[in-house]
Symmetry: D2
Subunit: 334 residues, 4 copies
């Protein structure tokens, strides 16, 4: 860690700061310049409160030289991690497509969609039973009943299931869920991450709407620091000023996360764009830039089907997309 | 609610959509234009899934005419709410200043700061015992011990205490906390909001880093919908591209929230700016534009005091600020 | 255009507004609801000042039903436009790669890079002679001499040249430039757009750092409204809170612009990401999602070559990328 | 300037880089750490291309220790600048209010508003004659005729005039304009800034919608570097995800710009919020946090007056606001 002191710092202030740093078990190397003094901090700087340090008046800036994350860091784990998602491997060359409806609604619906997406090549089934909703008056999901319907669809099709947990109090209901999704709004629910870190469930961790990639990795670190190394990262769009799309899908997240971490990266173009017509091109682009998987909404219910629209694809649209994704992946890998 | 249909919608599609809407107990008034058809939906439209409707291909746009929030809405509650914060009234002309250190560290620290801020006119004491930290390796607060020290400071000074709850599992520890803070990262932790709505604690709800004012009000609605009407809103800066300040303090939130809602609005300039030198001017500006209170970080520990900086003010700086705030409030109200 | 009036509007206010609208040559259809009144405006609403209308207290909201752009609109020009870039066609299935250094520096440099990128399959040469720089003290480009070197490189290789114009006063110097680039910072320099609209030069119009896709199309409309239909759109990243990449490349711009407009869309992953290591994956993703072309920085100068880094690719990296792009395009089109 | 090299840099790469830096007339001080090497660059680093340096693979990060701006820098000019705006001083304790309509429309309108705002205490008159409009089909202003009407209003009331220049080709028309406004969309029109730097006109420079405060100061530096020191800075809101207000007014810009620069800072709450009901509280807040002036839209035309709304205040609302602003300034200064 490097700390640049302002030239206005008095010798007493500097001395005081250096003693405080040393009391925290780091060695301090001083390098004087005419306009600045650089303190090089060596040792276990992970405990130093960088925000406190930065906020001191005598400090111009603080710069971490080593990343603040360890377990997720590719430097200490050069090979891609291959994570098991209910027996299906993801990462390290294993590409998987998670598909299904936004919410689980009925037995017919979830089993119908599961069979359709499986036939097109999806390898995991998604569907929400607990739904985070901006309004307390909106439909919040079928809860335990929804999880039961997902299990039936899994029994019928063999597809492992991915579904969102919003609250550790419901954790027991998720005992046999294959992949637990942590939603964008819970990406920095640190207590939840820490508790999931003490389980052995595979976690799909979605990037928050206003979170940097480094913050996403720090949240993954929370889970891994507890001992649970089964983490899949998911880019699903960030909040910007653009209003045509629901969010702005940040596909550069894929190569950046691959540079910084060994964990697999999945892309969700359905939530990111909010328009079915944009999903196929963004899905193909994600496959082209190296994503380890996709998460795609597919529906078969009449109100959607009628209108041939929505952020969800029809089974036929999904089937066409799967062919394109396969060809693009072959082209990139060849 | 108004739904604009595209001219490309077929009569069958329109008919299908109208029947679906009517099945949800809303009346549909049709108004035909040459380029568009407008459906006016009358009745209890709160259950209509606006995102689903918007996402249909045949739908150009959907516009709520009535706001989606009810209990927080000034329309149905024209007078300002006055909320009790441990016996101290806030809102409706009652202006309060919450002050104290970022984290509770030692008995001497918290009692020393509490006495100092009380002497300068603060009416509530803040201090973090459970700290949301981006890194799992950073100091996470003193937890139960920190709460105990806050209670001691309250006993000593009579100041009611405000502190953050990160997890409902810790709720019992907060039984005699006067005001429970829901942090920015938990603003859309809907399950937590719903559970807090079933308690009678006063809640200080901070705006999330990427959340609109309408979303903040919807989160307050979650708490109030459960029966707990003791909600204080807090603007604390949003995330933008500007890097000089830690966040961008959105002071227009104060008059906007006052237009839309009867709940009191507090401003936290310390977290928003991240620099002590900016706190006084932003605090005074907040008082000038009608905030019902301020939340200010004040420290008395040597590493901060040494440097006369950080986002925390010294007791002397805080004292000077309090005088300015008083004069500005008098000027605005006169 | 649809205008929703608040229920608080008095009959006199409504009457007054309707008369004002009619005085502007639009017909007004009134549709009354219990909570709102909808005014449907029919006729040439292009002259109505939507911001003024929106800002009236009696108006809840205003919604354009038809897009505000005409000449760029795919509705009135369903087929893709094919634009000539110095004789090279772009759009409508014609995919082109524009490559070259950030700035023109020396004869050796620009001719060397031009020959290298041509050998790898680039079809246009880029290079900055006039450079927009945040600091007045930074290198601003070789100006006329840079343009002369670009012409020499074109003579040598046959590649048409693309370079940025910052000021109409320099326009005469650009007389034989094949494609004039309007940079992100000039995207809303409306006078410049209008003047370029009166020329017959092919314009590469870059999206501004904080501009929506609709604003980009409105700026293209400025050029086309003057009679110049030779416009190529370029996505080059927008400004967000993420700091790992220089900007956030918004690839969903490609399918969105293709839906709304018939103009070709080029993607510049070099400026968007700011890191050479991210350029290839973003270039391949852009090709996969249907971009009509790429704009890639390639260098051959020692300070870059030494470090094998920067946002510019080496000729060898560029060559490898071109192969990948070709294979991905074949896969998508097959 | 400090450059941190990665530990992966080879000795040859380091040597090469250091020689390149020295060839640019800076001295390089090397400070070795176990995980990093810090290069301290001393001398005139203003010519070093920081973006190029940062983009090299061997470079971890580059940090300017001295700000990149000189003429605008408070360090080299500790006292507040007092700028003459047509004889009216602004800055250094001189607070001025610029008021008037958005666009100049008729003689009656501009003279009527000018007289009204003068009576309430405004000291400068604003009004747009050249209007930057997103759409080429919208009203673009009265141009020369609008400037003539402004001159008449000045003759009538004695108020100096402030109006926007969009294009240096129109500069001669602005010969006797007192303050030339550079709009948000032209904040990085570097050629225009450079040309204005060679004049002696007072320039009101508005912050761009996506520009940092440092970029605003660099644009002011462009003007001052040419010899024109008559620059007034203006905060007018930045673009964020919030949609309730037109832009997000960043009032922390006021104390930040005052810390970094000696130039006066004016705040425009009308464009920032887009709603008349929010203008007074934001104007008062701006006055409270130390702004050197305000820029307020005031109208007297029937379509606005009818509706008692819009982002423009009525003369009566403006008059009430002026009283509040005066009282708040007295309170802050006392």
């Amino acid at each position: 860690m490097i700390t640049v002191l302002k030239s206005t710092a008095t010798p007493e202030q500097r001395e005081h700061l250096i003693r405080w740093l040393e009391s925290q078990n780091v060695q301090v190397h001083i390098s004087e310049g005419s306009e600045y003094t650089v303190l090089g901090l060596v040792g276990d700087t992970g405990h130093i409160d960088i925000e406190l340090l930065e906020s001191l008046d005598m400090v111009d800036s603080v710069k971490r030289v080593s990343e603040p994350f360890k377990k997720v860091n590719r430097k200490f784990h050069p090979d891609d991690s291959v994570i098991s998602a209910g027996g299906v491997p993801i990462g390290g060359g294993h590409f998987q497509v998670i598909a299904g409806p936004c919410s689980v609604e009925t037995r017919e619906q979830i089993i119908g969609v599961a069979e359709a997406v499986k036939a097109s090549g999806a390898t995991l089934l998604r569907g929400g039973a607990f739904k985070p909703r901006t309004s307390p008056y909106a439909f919040q999901g079928l809860h335990a009943e929804g999880l039961e319907l997902l299990r039936e669809a899994r029994a019928q099709t063999g597809l492992p299931i991915v579904t969102e947990l919003m609250n550790m109090r419901d954790f027991d209901l998720f005992a046999d869920v294959d992949v637990i999704q942590v939603g964008a709004r819970n990406m920095q629910n640190f207590d939840m991450l820490r508790e999931l870190g003490r389980t052995d469930k595979t976690i799909l961790l979605k990037r928050g709407l206003a979170n940097t990639l480094q913050e996403l990795l720090m949240s993954a670190e929370y889970i891994m620091a507890g001992g649970n190394e089964n983490v899949i990262l998911c880019e699903r769009g960030i909040r910007t000023f653009e209003t045509y799309t629901r969010n702005t899908l940040d596909l550069s997240a894929v190569p950046v996360l691959h540079e910084l971490s060994h964990l697999p990266v999945v892309v969700d173009p359905s939530h990111a764009t909010g328009h079915a017509s944009l999903v196929p091109s963004m899905a193909v682009a994600a496959a082209a830039c190296g994503a380890d998987g996709l998460m795609i909404e597919v529906h078969n219910d009449p109100i959607h089907a009628l209108c041939d629209g929505a952020q969800s694809l029809t089974p036929a649209q999904f089937d066409a997309l799967m062919g394109q994704v396969r060809r693009v992946r072959e082209a990139v890998l060849s």
